[in-house]
């Protein structure tokens, strides 16, 4: 699309931006705000999925075992589970460990009485803790374990295998639906914002064109090629978009560096780290989206004036 007259186009575009800075400012601000909000959404959804990810990591299946289960059979079943597709790891939690964990949870909840009431007994069964590759598949895998004959032999309650297999079904479901809604909402909003920015660039270039109609007519008269005529306008659109996207990146960077310490101090148990790759990727895609909007917005605005 870029002809040999890049230097000329850029010079013309700069001149025009300088002369009509108020119109161009409008386009730059629109691009800036749109890209800024898009950036907030990209970084925000990354942050949320990081947080969700740490929760998702905790989604495991607990398969409770009969107190009298044969240790060899348990080990064999553990090995079998590890062979399954979606299973990342399986660990054995003995009765003692389970009781220890129970005690801790209870004392965290200030329910020492409940622990005291155990009175030296250990009612907590041993269990196999299954970690999954894809937390979304938790239900399928759980059902598979329930239906497994081999598991029935060692299950805590062989009569009702389903009761022996537990996973945070409702928590998981809610979490997934919420994150999915957030993702869909963000995608829709991003599309809308891109569209708005596109329309605005298109409009600005249209104004620039109508201010220079005479010049375009003369250019066509003396035989300037379409790409030559298009050059300055496309360059102007791209420049405005570039300035807008750089502003967006700058304010994202500044805003995040202010916000992050405050979030971190008020919500200490969560991690607000964004990996540098994600941030750089986000910035690069903002610039790309901006420039593509600028190029296409102006090229489409030009189309009508280039019909021979």
């Amino acid at each position: 699309m870029m002809p040999s007259n890049i230097g000329y186009s850029l010079r013309e575009a700069f001149t025009h931006i300088r002369r009509n800075w108020s119109t161009c400012l409008g386009a730059v601000v629109t691009i800036f705000l749109s890209l800024f909000v898009i950036g907030v959404f990209i970084l925000g959804s990354n942050l949320v999925s990081n947080l969700v990810g740490s929760v998702e990591d905790r989604v495991t299946i607990q398969a409770f075992l009969n107190d009298g289960a044969d240790q060899a059979a348990v080990d064999a079943y553990k090995a079998k589970l590890e062979g399954w597709d979606n299973v990342e790891s399986v660990s054995y939690k003995s009765k003692d460990e389970a009781l220890q964990e129970y005690r801790e949870t209870m004392s965290n909840r200030n329910a020492e009485d409940a622990v005291a009431a155990l009175d030296g007994q250990n009612p907590v069964p041993a269990s196999l803790v299954v970690k999954l590759d894809d937390p979304q598949q938790v239900e399928t895998t759980a059902n598979k374990i329930v239906a497994d004959e081999e598991f029935l032999a060692i299950a805590d309650t062989p009569d009702n295998a389903a009761a022996s297999v537990q996973y945070g079904k409702e928590t998981v479901d809610r979490l997934f639906s919420v994150t999915n809604y957030i993702r869909i909402g963000a995608a829709v909003l991003i599309v809308l914002l891109v569209f708005v920015a596109f329309v605005f660039i298109n409009n600005t270039i249209r104004l620039a064109i109508s201010a220079r109609k005479r010049e375009i007519a003369i250019m066509r008269l003396v035989g300037a090629s379409n790409s030559f005529i298009r050059g300055p306008f496309v360059a102007e659109g791209a420049l405005e978009a570039l300035i807008g996207s750089l502003l967006a990146i700058l304010s994202l960077q500044v805003g995040w560096s202010f916000l992050k310490p405050q979030l971190q101090s008020s919500l200490q148990f969560l991690s607000f780290e964004l990996s540098p790759t994600v941030v750089t990727g986000c910035y690069i895609s903002l610039v790309l989206v901006g420039v593509v909007i600028g190029l296409f917005g102006s090229a489409i605005a030009m189309r009508r004036y280039l019909k021979v």
């Binding site: 005479r214 066509r220 003396v222 300037a224 090629s225 019909k307």
Partner: protein, 310 residues
């Protein structure tokens, strides 16, 4: 000498437009410190205006121009060739703007196109620059069939055609030099070529000293000479003029006509639509008269005609 500077007899660099070998060959010397165009000779158009203006008063008719009126032999390939061309505007489907017109214009000719408003003059001229496509028939300019020409090729066609309009079409925020240079910048000529060719062509039209003025500091006649300079700066073999003297007074018009005549004598084909009766009558060149989209007269050394209509 770069080939694009030439407008010599025989086949030019592009191989399209051919001027007759009888035409004087303009030579442009770009090697010297100050380029000299031989065709301008010593005559400066700016100086020729005053005596004619006073001489035009008594009879109101111009004296025939010296050295003009030679009938150009119709030999070789026509520069412009219309074959059964019909143009119908969508707004008036029953009244064709041009109705089955066929004509040939040969290299080096000076042709007046006359006719009342709405007779199809402008439509004819717009066909030549492919601003308009023929509804039916073939328009062949410079060996290319414009009816079948792809849109992307049109700019390259227009580089071989100079155009002059009644309203000058100058850019008000560019100087005279800038306006003429703009035409070369647009087609990607290097700066060195622009810097030699623009002053040269401005000297040809007699505006060398006004190079740094802006269009609104110039009179109408001077502005029109700038637009002629812009049309000629790329040395096109064909010059199309749409009523170039339409809003100039008779004396100034004569200056423009002399300029066009001299350009014609260098071998450039000139097609000019006009309402200027006295001009046509005094020049005695080929006249094509249009009426309601049809050629009603095509005459060598013709007059304006239409006396009965007035």
């Amino acid at each position: 000498m770069p080939s694009h500077l030439r407008n010599t007899g025989g086949t030019d660099a592009s191989g399209d437009l051919v001027t007759p070998s009888t035409a004087p060959v303009p030579s442009v010397v770009t090697s010297g410190p100050e380029p000299v165009r031989t065709i301008t000779a010593s005559t400066d158009v700016a100086q020729t205006n005053a005596p004619v203006a006073s001489g035009a008063t008594p009879g109101g008719l111009y004296a025939p121009l010296e050295g003009s009126g030679a009938v150009v032999p119709h030999t070789g390939t026509p520069t412009i060739s219309l074959r059964n061309v019909t143009v119908i505007y969508p707004a008036q489907p029953n009244k064709p703007a041009l109705d089955n017109v066929s004509l040939d214009i040969y290299p080096g000719e000076f042709v007046f196109v006359v006719g009342h408003s709405g007779s199809g003059k402008s439509t004819f001229l717009r066909l030549l620059t492919r601003e308009l496509k023929a509804t039916k028939g073939d328009v062949i300019v410079a060996g290319q069939n414009l009816t079948k020409m792809r849109n992307w090729k049109v700019p390259y066609l227009r580089r071989q055609i100079g155009t002059v309009f009644q309203d000058f079409k100058l850019l008000p925020d560019k100087t005279i030099y800038g306006n003429v240079a703009f035409a070369l910048e647009c087609i990607g000529k290097p700066r060195s070529v622009i810097e030699t060719q623009v002053p040269e062509v401005l000297r040809l039209v007699g505006l060398a000293e006004k190079m740094d003025s802006f269009p609104d500091q110039l009179s109408g006649g001077e502005q029109q000479r700038v637009s002629v300079a812009r049309a000629m700066v790329n040395r096109p073999p064909l010059l199309v003029c749409d009523e170039p003297t339409g809003n100039l007074d008779p004396a100034i018009s004569l200056g423009i006509m002399k300029l066009l005549d001299r350009i014609n004598q260098t071998g450039t084909t000139v097609v000019m639509a006009t309402h200027d009766r006295e001009m046509v009558d005094s020049m005695r060149r080929r006249v094509i008269a249009l009426e309601a989209g049809e050629v009603v007269r095509d005459q060598e050394r013709g007059g304006y005609g239409f006396y009965d209509a007035l």
